[in-house]
């Protein structure tokens, strides 16, 4: 019998597909410019010039973010807008944009991703005053290694920025992209950052995109990746006494799921946010992407809405459908935590998004040939 229809809040969603309509958190990453004052070797930019949105266009898109968070019923504090580039501080209207964002500070958290060069004492003070922003500064190791990847003087520049941000009590975290070049320095860098008063180090996996393809020889083998996860767990325990320092897990760390690990560890495993439907990316020209590191264009925010794309994009539903995972993953005991690995790493490596993660040590002992799955149909265009 017809009894009308039900608004979403009345529906019990459990672990079915409808969970994509009420995820526990949601992250929008928004790139305001592709311009940058550095030329880091591991960067996923490809040197192509991209037209930037005007301030008026940015302003028109911002309410869409709120609408998405509201429709998905994301609780205050669990909605996040990460702002990046390029180097976002290069935009003349950057602070005007940040002021707009502060209107939403009750419900949205925001992280600014920067190389730190343009941070001054005055800027750090302003960020503190605005009250909603934390800052993520990128570092790739200690001085020599960092500068070999990010350019001469980059280490001192970043540390100067970190000190200014700390002095002004802006929450500051550091992010590092893990390669063979900096693997042995994670321990030293973490200890140094702790001394500086930083309490969070995020270690991202290498994705061979854009300029970053040049570093492909530095990609960790699966066994090195596994070994790193174990070492990181130990270091985490050691540095985190009294909750003073933690390694934040990234969305690419689904493969770190280990059945034997304690349940409190398993509970906080993150996995690919494209697969679990908790992420959208707004690119510099307004394109709505699955993710910056797995950049499938889903629409453009000047004519489509984030909410409609999140709900309607067949490509997104294809990525979310776990039946589309590779058979090797589907029979893996860790699949329910890992969800088949990081789309970005698989796609950049194999040019195929529906195959296992090349750094997964349950399948590969060393990095596999890049054409291993050439006959396997990719999903994104199906």
């Amino acid at each position: 019998m017809y009894r009308g229809f039900t608004k979403q809040k009345d529906i019990g969603y459990s672990m079915k597909d409808a969970r994509f309509l009420c995820p526990p958190y949601f992250v929008i990453q928004w790139h305001l410019t592709e311009r940058c004052n550095w030329r880091c070797k591991h960067c996923y930019q490809n040197g192509r010039k991209v037209k930037e949105l005007s301030f008026r266009e940015l302003k028109s898109i911002l309410p869409q973010c709120l609408e998405l968070f509201e429709a998905l019923q994301i609780k205050p504090g669990f909605a996040r807008i990460n702002i990046g580039g390029g180097e976002p501080f290069l935009r003349n209207d950057f602070f005007k944009f940040l002021s707009l964002l502060t209107k939403y500070k009750r419900s949205v958290k925001s992280i600014i991703m920067t190389n730190g060069e343009l941070i001054t004492d005055a800027i750090a003070k302003d960020l503190k005053k605005m009250g909603m922003f934390s800052v993520q500064v990128s570092l790739e190791g200690l001085r020599q290694t960092n500068d070999a990847i990010r350019g001469n003087g980059a280490f001192d520049t970043a540390i100067r920025a970190i000190k200014l941000l700390r002095k002004n009590k802006v929450i500051t975290r550091v992010s590092l992209t893990l390669t063979k070049m900096n693997l042995s320095e994670v321990d030293g860098l973490a200890r140094y950052l702790k001394e500086l008063g930083i309490n969070s180090l995020g270690i991202r996996r290498y994705v061979g995109l854009g300029r970053g393809k040049l570093l492909k020889e530095s990609m960790l083998s699966p066994l090195e990746q596994e070994d790193f996860y174990f070492k990181k767990e130990n270091l985490k325990k050691e540095l985190n006494e009294k909750g003073k320092f933690f390694f934040s897990d990234g969305c690419e760390d689904g493969i770190s799921a280990l059945g034997g690990w304690p349940s409190e560890r398993m509970n906080c495993i993150k996995n690919c946010s494209v697969i679990n439907g908790r992420h959208l990316n707004i690119f510099t020209n307004g394109d709505i992407l699955t993710c910056r590191r797995f950049p499938v264009v889903l629409g453009n925010a000047l004519k489509d809405t984030l909410l409609d794309v999140h709900f309607s994009s067949n490509k997104l539903w294809t990525f979310r459908n776990l039946n589309n995972a590779h058979p090797l993953c589907k029979k893996c005991p860790e699949f329910r935590f890992c969800l088949g690995g990081a789309k970005c790493v698989s796609y950049a490596y194999f040019r195929n998004d529906s195959v296992p993660d090349p750094q997964c040590w349950r399948i590969f002992k060393k990095l596999p040939p890049v054409n291993l799955f050439d006959g396997h149909q990719a999903r994104q265009n199906s």
Binding site: Y2, R3, F5, Q8, I11, A18, L21, E67, A71, D308
Partner: protein
């Protein structure tokens, strides 16, 4: 009104509604209200037959056959559902 409606076809109003089947149920996004709605089983059946370009008369017959119910009951339910959704501009007459 009802007599006229029987020979008509309806479809979803693309300007304000996107829809898809999630967990075997029809869910639609009301783009103006920025909310998701779920149709119950019968309404979902009617919706899917409607967007497959069946006339309302045909939908009534299909509903009656599928659920093994009287034609009058099927007609009452189908018209109640479609009129409700038309009034809310979620469906439009083709």
């Amino acid at each position: 009104m009802k007599v006229n409606l029987l020979d008509k076809c309806v479809l979803h109003n693309k300007d304000i509604v996107s829809w898809r089947i999630i967990d075997k149920q029809v869910i639609f996004l009301h783009k103006n209200e920025k909310s998701f709605y779920e149709l119950n089983e019968v309404a979902g059946f009617i919706w899917q037959k409607a967007v497959s370009k069946n006339s309302i008369k045909k939908i009534i017959a299909l509903l009656s056959q599928y659920y093994d119910i009287d034609r009058q009951v099927a007609e009452r339910d189908t018209l109640a559902c479609i009129e409700d959704l038309l009034n809310r501009k979620i469906l439009v007459i083709r």
